[in-house]
Amino acid sequence: MRSAVARALRGVRWYVRELTDESAYDRYVAHVRKDHPQAEVPSRRDFERMRTDRQEEDPRQGFRCC
């Protein structure tokens, strides 16, 4: 019973983190470690800046509909 609740809560946390893209940094770090082991991993601050700067360059990314 308790473990079921814990699992459900973990599931909710996972979903919220994924949906809000809070997990973007972890995902990126995993990607760099796996596919480019030699490359340096940026700090979270730098990564988040890079992400919004990309949106700046192409506003069609993440565009919302009417």
Partner: protein, 713 residues
């Protein structure tokens, strides 16, 4: 040959029965109030059948989605915009991206024809046209590394059709922004509560932006919670402000709001994304998903009775006060989002294809999300149909028609056959703590009244005014976000176009170019907003049809691209899948354009309207609803602009369709001449279920794969 088991047959027969009973009651009940439960049953039953049978047929028989083929997300994974995303997460992303104010506004306005035409179009339209468009665009874009609709039009149809499509998309963006801004102005004018709480969203977003940039980068969930809490506080505080001495400061006339909105749009679009746009977007997504869930719960719990007629007399006479014109074609352009929306093609190509894990998931993401949006439109229609029809018409008719006093409005609305006393009109405004509800056109206030009625039935009547402003805030929030984001997208298109003339414009971070193009885009939609607010004939009445036409024309572009691609990829036999929706959409939209341009009824045809008012000016007369000679000249100018614009849009789309037909015919005659730019097949290594709930085989396959590759999740 696979044989279906008995259980499946029984279950799907029951689903079909539920839908059929819902439809029968809606269509046949006369004279008494029908429960919204039947609308919900008709919608959900039909969606389930459409998803289970038609969408599956398209995915597996027509498109032949291939689970062995790696998607762009898998092949080009860069950990940022290309990355395989869990299907349930992507469903949320995609839904949040496609559903905005559109499905909430259109159905409310279309309710003037009664609830039945709107329901039929929303449900049939989504199953056979809207969701099909979204899914097919998503499929073809996925096979092309997430190319945008414009790029696909250029590559697959040709430079001429491509350029026309691009120009149409730009024009459509401008009109969209103008009309959405008009909806906001109509909702916030003379409403200190609403204006204050919306104004507060700006400092809240700035705080959130600063938090995410400087204090705790990337902690989106926690900052969104803080933001939503502050937002609710601002909402509660709005009432205190409205009752305090500050009330006058936040009681703004429509023309003042226009200036504020245009200034906001301009400044917001040149500020860095992290400051305002990104945090606002988190807030509005949070509010959007939350409120839609609440509304769905509210409708299902209360199951209110529909008080609007099934079909009103305006449907056949075509002289409705909300928008002029008869049921065909105008219901089909008034309700765009929720049934068939061209704008979705911009999301289904570009962003989502770069994140989809498996080709087999396009049914769930493309078709499924659109069904969800359609159900939002059904809820909006429910909300508009449960309020007193007399109040509905008093709120949605322009003041030129019903006057500015409750006595006058009651009398005019009564002459249409909907009885409501002046006292009832005044009480309705009082209940939501607004000074007046007369002529609050644009759909948002009507929806808010309906929503407050549903919610307060659950929470008690004392919260009624709070829920009204909650609903207004919820719509205004994402319309303001759309103004900012849309201005940026429009600017991006303009920079690209101007870059062909003067090269530095191509560099998107060149500051002077940025400011100039932002200014132009804001100026353009600001013009339509200004015109809409000062239009003696009613801004929504005049402009909403153009908005509907333009959105449906964009859908025609998307469907033309899809049909061309079906033909060119050897699926000629199945070209009707998007070909029939295209034919329907083109017929509806071009008929509407034709009537708006050439109709001899001055309420419908822009040029006839122009002529009537110009003749009166020549005679030195002032025609109602104009009050002065200035008004008369305004009407003449606006009708001319609106008429020319409608004609130009129609011509652009005819160009796209003709060019697409040429390419299709050429392909059928001499297939060797046409090139198809599909990326080659690469073996997929990802194993993931196709639908929301994995089947037993999929679970087994996943388990085998996890053992085989030595990873577990």
């Amino acid at each position: 040959m696979r044989t279906a088991n008995v259980r499946t047959i029984v279950i799907w027969s029951l689903v079909a029965l539920v839908g059929a009973v819902g439809w029968s009651v809606l269509a046949l009940a006369r004279g008494e109030n029908v429960s919204a439960a039947w609308m919900v049953a008709a919608a959900l039953g039909s969606y389930a059948i459409g998803y289970r049978f038609y969408a599956k047929f398209i995915a597996y028989k027509v498109l032949k989605v291939d689970k062995t083929r790696a998607t762009p997300a898998e092949r080009l994974d860069n950990g940022i915009d290309f990355h395989p995303t869990d299907r349930r997460v992507l469903l949320g992303h995609h839904f949040a991206a496609i559903a905005g104010a559109g499905p909430l506004v259109g159905p409310v306005l279309a309710a003037q024809m009664g609830y039945l035409p709107g329901t039929v179009w929303i449900i049939a339209g989504v199953i056979f046209a809207g969701a099909v468009q979204d899914m097919v665009v998503l499929f073809f874009s996925t096979r092309r590394d997430g190319r945008s609709l414009g790029q696909m039009a250029r590559e697959e149809i040709g430079p001429f059709g491509g350029a026309a499509a691009l120009l149409a998309a730009f024009a459509i963006m401008i009109i969209l922004l103008g009309v959405l801004a008009l909806v906001i102005v109509n909702a916030l004018a003379q409403s200190p509560w609403g204006t204050f709480s919306i104004a507060m969203t700006i400092p809240i977003a700035l705080v959130m932006g600063f938090y995410l940039r400087v204090l705790r980068p990337g902690r989106v969930a926690e900052v969104s919670l803080i933001g939503v809490a502050l937002l609710l506080l601002a909402l509660v505080a709005g009432r205190w402000v409205a009752e305090s001495s500050w009330a006058d400061t936040f009681t703004l006339a429509p023309s003042t709001l226009v200036i504020w909105l245009v200034a906001y749009g301009f400044i917001a679009s040149i500020l860095p994304v992290w400051m305002l746009l990104a945090p606002r977007d988190y807030l509005s997504t949070f509010m959007k998903i939350g409120t839609i869930l609440l509304l769905a719960l509210g409708v299902v719990i209360t199951l209110p009775a529909l008080r609007m007629d099934a079909v009103t007399d305006f449907a056949s006479r075509g002289d409705g006060p909300v928008f002029a014109g008869s049921l065909f074609p105008f219901v089909f352009i008034t309700i765009a989002c929720g049934a068939l929306s061209g704008f979705h093609a911009l999301i289904s190509s570009g962003t989502t294809p770069k994140m989809i894990q498996k080709e087999t998931q396009i049914r769930m993401i493309g078709y499924g999300s659109m069904l969800m949006e359609s159900s939002v439109a059904v809820m909006a229609l429910v909300a508009a149909s449960i309020i007193d029809p007399g109040l509905y018409f008093a709120m949605n008719a322009p003041s030129g028609v019903i006057g500015t006093t409750v006595e006058n409005a009651s009398q005019v609305v009564g002459s249409w056959g909907y009885q409501i006393t002046p006292a009832e009109l005044a009480r309705a405004a009082q209940e939501v703590e607004e000074s007046t509800l007369l002529s609050r056109t644009g759909g948002a206030p009507t929806l808010a009244v309906g929503v407050s009625q549903i919610f307060s039935e659950v929470t008690g009547g004392s919260l009624r005014a709070f829920w009204y402003h909650f609903a207004i805030m919820f719509e205004a929030l994402f319309i303001l976000t759309a103004l900012d984001a849309g201005t940026r997208v429009g600017r991006f298109m303009l920079q690209d176009m101007l870059g062909n003339v003067y090269r530095p414009f191509k560099n998107v971070s060149w500051k002077p170019g940025l400011v100039i193009t932002s200014g132009i885009v804001c100026g353009l939609w600001g013009y339509f907003l200004w015109v809409g607010v000062h239009e003696p004939l009613g801004g929504i009445n005049q402009l909403f049809p153009i908005f509907g036409i333009s959105n449906q024309l964009l859908a025609a572009v998307a469907l033309a691209v899809c049909t061309t691609l079906l033909v060119k990829s050897g699926r000629l036999k199945w070209a009707w899948i998007t070909g029939i929706p295209l034919a329907w959409d083109a017929t509806v939209t071009l008929t509407a354009s034709w009537q708006k341009v050439f109709s001899s009824d001055p309420a419908v045809g822009f040029f006839k309207q122009r002529q009537v008012f110009q003749d009166a000016i020549d005679r030195g007369e002032v025609l109602a609803p104009a009050k002065s000679m200035d008004d008369m000249h305004t009407v003449v100018t606006n009708s001319t602009v609106d008429g020319v614009l409608t004609a130009v849009l129609a011509v652009l789309i005819v160009v796209v369709i003709v060019d697409a037909t040429r390419v299709c015919v050429r392909h059928v005659r001499r297939p060797a001449l046409s090139a198809l730019s599909e990326t080659p097949h690469v073996e997929s290594k990802i194993v993931a279920p196709a639908g929301l709930i994995p089947t037993r085989e999929e679970k087994e396959e996943e388990a085998r794969h996890a053992v085989g590759s030595g990873t577990s999740s």
